[in-house]
């Protein structure tokens, strides 16, 4: 069917149409910008700021084989990056060649709930700055697990995570999880498999319908039967994030999921910098995690 449809459309274009590469610069703003992203939290062990270039999506030649050269087109290694709080405490971040980002241990600047922090980045003598405020942390996560046999002879666990919205503010939540299975096959050493759990449409939640409501999301995990299960645990995660971080994660996810679908509108990347020539997100979050053992 798809082949026939494509052929039909192809024939139509062949007989009546043509294609032509056009100069996008005349139709689209494609000026290079500085791209900055940084998410900070009291739970971090290291503070991180990514500073790179955002290059025109159209008309930027990239090598087909030299990926290092491509990365160097984007990376900015000589920026001056600092984080500070409203008490005047400041921490400098330094470029890490191994991780391609600017880092400092979290001990260099204490990150506290509901406090405001400032980011300042200087690139080529231009300084860009913005701020963020750390939201409150979700206190308690509850879970309900329902087990059922799956079609492959294994077990499917339907895991519903719930928590109470933090009252008195507009909150934005991101849900996730990490499953960890340690199994041993006959005549082999035990092996541990770790993989993320996805909450699909429940991954991004807000409290826009009701302040203080119980919010929940559902994910699934599967367990096989052809090995001895030694340990089966799941870490459930709820992050209360600032709106710009919520938008950034959701935009990236949305665009990735709908890539190639011409009927889906592109989601717009957020920006909480105000200067010209820069785009990005500096935002705070707090994560709550709960480890649970799963029956098998």
């Amino acid at each position: 069917m798809k082949k026939t449809l494509l052929l039909f459309v192809g024939l139509m274009v062949l007989f009546t149409g043509c294609q032509k590469v056009v100069d996008a610069k005349e139709l689209l703003n494609t000026e290079e910008q500085i791209f900055i992203s940084s998410y900070i939290s009291p739970q971090d062990t290291v503070l991180r700021v990514n500073v790179s270039r955002a290059l025109p999506a159209i008309g930027t030649p990239l090598s087909i084989s030299d990926h290092e050269a491509n990365r160097n087109l984007f990376l900015i290694k000589n920026a001056l990056v600092s984080l500070s709080d409203d008490l005047g405490n400041t921490a400098q971040l330094f470029y890490s060649d191994s991780l391609d980002t600017y880092l400092t241990p979290s001990s260099s600047l204490e990150i506290l709930s509901e406090q405001t922090y400032f980011l300042e980045v200087t690139v080529d003598a231009k300084t860009f700055s913005t701020s963020c405020t750390i939201p409150k942390k979700v206190e308690t996560i509850n879970e309900r697990i329902t087990y059922r046999d799956d079609m492959y002879g294994g077990t499917e666990a339907e895991i519903t995570l719930s928590f109470e919205d933090i009252k008195g503010a507009d909150n934005y939540y991101v849900l996730g999880g990490i499953a960890s299975n340690t199994v041993q096959y006959d005549n082999f050493e035990p092996e541990t498999y770790t993989y993320p759990l996805y909450f699909d449409t429940d991954e991004f939640l807000t409290d826009n319908l009701e302040d203080g409501a119980i919010l929940s999301g559902t994910t699934y995990s599967y367990f096989g039967t052809d090995a001895t299960v030694i340990d089966n645990s799941i870490i459930l995660q709820v992050a209360n994030v600032e709106e710009s971080l919520f938008q950034n994660l959701r935009t990236t996810a949305t665009n990735a999921e709908s890539e190639g679908n011409p009927f889906v509108e592109y989601a717009i990347a957020p920006n909480n910098f105000t200067e010209d020539g820069v785009i990005g997100v500096f935002a705070g979050y707090q994560i709550t995690e709960k480890k649970i053992e799963v029956e098998y």
């Binding site: 052929l7 159209i58 994660l249 009927f263 957020p270």
Partner: protein
Amino acid sequence: MTNKNYFTLFFLCHLFYGFSNNKSDSILKPHLQATSYTISGYITESGSGENLLGVSVYVPELKLGTITNDYGFFSLTLPEGKHEVYISYIGYATQIKSIELNKDSSWAIDLESATESLEEVVVTADEKVKQSKVTQMSTVKIKPSIVQDVPALLGEKDVLKTLQLLPGIQGGSEGTSGFFVRGGTPDQNLIVLDDAVVYNSNHLFGFLSVFNGDAIKSVEAFKGGFPARYGGRLSSVIKIDMKDGNKEKLSGKINVGLISSSLLLEGPINKGKTSFIVSGRRTYADILARPFILSETDGDAAGGYFFADLNFKVHHIFSEKDKIYWSNYYGKDKFYGNDKTDNYEDRVRLGWGNITSSLRWNHQFNNKLFSNTSLIFSNYEFKVTGDFKETLPDNTIEEYFFNTSSGINDYSVKTDFDYFPNTKHRIRFGALATQHNFTPQRVLIKDDYIGDVNLKQELNSFEGGIYAEDDWKLTDKLKISPGFRLSYFKYKDKQYINPEPRLALSYNVKPDFALKASYTKMNQYIHLLSSSGIGLPTDLWVSSTDQVKPQTSQQYAIGLAKDFFNSDYSVSLEGYYKTMDDVIAYKEGASFLAFEDIENGQTITWEDNITSGKGWAYGAELLLRKQTGKLTGWLGYTLSWSERQFDELNLGKKFFDRYDRRHDISLVGIYKPHDRITLSATWVLSSGNNYTLPNLQRLSLPDGFPIDNYGNYYGGTTEDFTTQRNNFRAETSHRLDLGVQLHKKLKKGRERTWGFSLYNSYARQNPFIYTLGDSYYNYNDPNATVEQELTKTSVLMLIPSFNYTFKF
């Protein structure tokens, strides 16, 4: 009482003040206080008995007149005495009747077509329906003959594409028939065919409309200043009336074109009493494409596409006072494909179409009161079926079948009254009730592997409205048209009741020059979820619910209309400002073209996929028109802006709508030097549409966020992103279409016409879509680079066509 209620009360009082104040009005001319009598009756076309709507019945000496209603009925109250009554209609010979009026009189007038009139007749445009003489503004009428005369894509005469040539009515992408009126969206256009709503007006994925023009009597488009008798949409009303059928003799028309052929047959069933008209059309695209598909797939695949239309109408006259009309439309688009290999075969069908049926009863109570009551059914359905069969290596057979559909059924009853109390008032009032049955999604899956799925989403709602309006001639110079509509909508326990005041006024600075203004408030209770905006069949009609509010709009318009009586030119200039609330759009990333979900049987909650916001549209329209003579046509220019703001789109910031187009120009010329040839040309220019394209790319670096996300997953690669919705404006489009028709009169009133047309005659490469893709590179060259390119796809360049028409 709120301000809104005071406003409503003001309009009601105003309206009823007008009803009750006829006799004591001090501005009445002395002659109206004398004994007066009423002339009433019907005006029909000579030779066919077809009722003519919008015919001017005018007494120049008294500057009094009226026009026939949609069923050819008129009523004109005049003082006793001698009068000369001019009955005129564009394209018909004007009749002048001298009368000695001393009693009520009933007329049955046949107007003769100007081209067939044997006498030397005066061919004038209608005095009464000159733009400077009517209160109504923001309205354009198109005669079907114009649709037949202007050059058309592939020779397919198309009502909606002809309308797109008028200012304020903008087409979508190149060649498509979807249209946008004054910054609105396609779902904000109410398209009614003989009182029945047509939900999907497109064939061939939007390239052609369902109205081919053969069976159509008149087309009228309202862009603003909506009379109270219309409601339910924000941006326009397109009123299309089918012919009633020739009551005198059997006649017909055969048209053979490049991609379709059509046949029209009309005639009396009972001469003078009952008539019928039937018109059908079918394309041959599937037949033409079949050999190519078979050769390209070595005979393994077959498939094709066609569309077909059928219009059928019966008109019966019970008596002079009672008539019925039964109108029906059936239209279908179908795409089908079969694939077959040694161990696999599939059979897929994709079809969509409308069915409408309306039964209307005209009753004339007396010479001043006329009514029409209609029972109406309207249906639209989109359906995809797939049947898949695979033979596995162990010879077991796996079968999978799915059937998914969506649609809407409407059942309506409607009654409209036309009351002509005196020459100063024409009052219309009525009511409408519609039961909507929506099926946003119906899924039936039979699968040997995962089991069967049978899901159906249904939404049932009720929509009603009552209205009253008056066309009130306050003085010779000042006319106003106050109106009021009260609309009602119910979905489950949720009810919406909304007053919709309307007001239009016209002030004649000079007899041929009028200043006009209007205000309208509209509500729209049903919505179209459209991923593309170009009228794809997958677009989904849904109801307002407790979560999804009705869309509302307010439109203010001012303008001027100038007629040049001696040269038959007219010019109108209008400015408008429209606000729209609770308009809907897909959330970013949402689409209803998720066939994967359909095949998995997962239901999509459409309410979760949409978001509501605000809209603003404003602009100016100029129309210079010449409607009579050997050369007719018009020049239209639109300057417009259309903006939107949604909390959940574009980070809550205001943005220009996709079809925000700054300039639209259309120049249409039809030249008929004599009755054997028609030459026509249209030239159009439009600013480009807006699209959202990624303008930047960034390196995906791990962000340290502890929950797995796409940034981490794709770490190290580049990722496109965009910083503004509709950040890209396409190139300006323009094209010239040319047409020539050669007519030959044959014996017994038959006529043969050869038509030739050239669409986009200078082969302008207008943008149809833009896509991003990688540039060409040599895979074997380690130093090769690749970059993304923007590619413009253009279609429909230099498309010649011909068609042959035979009338008998």
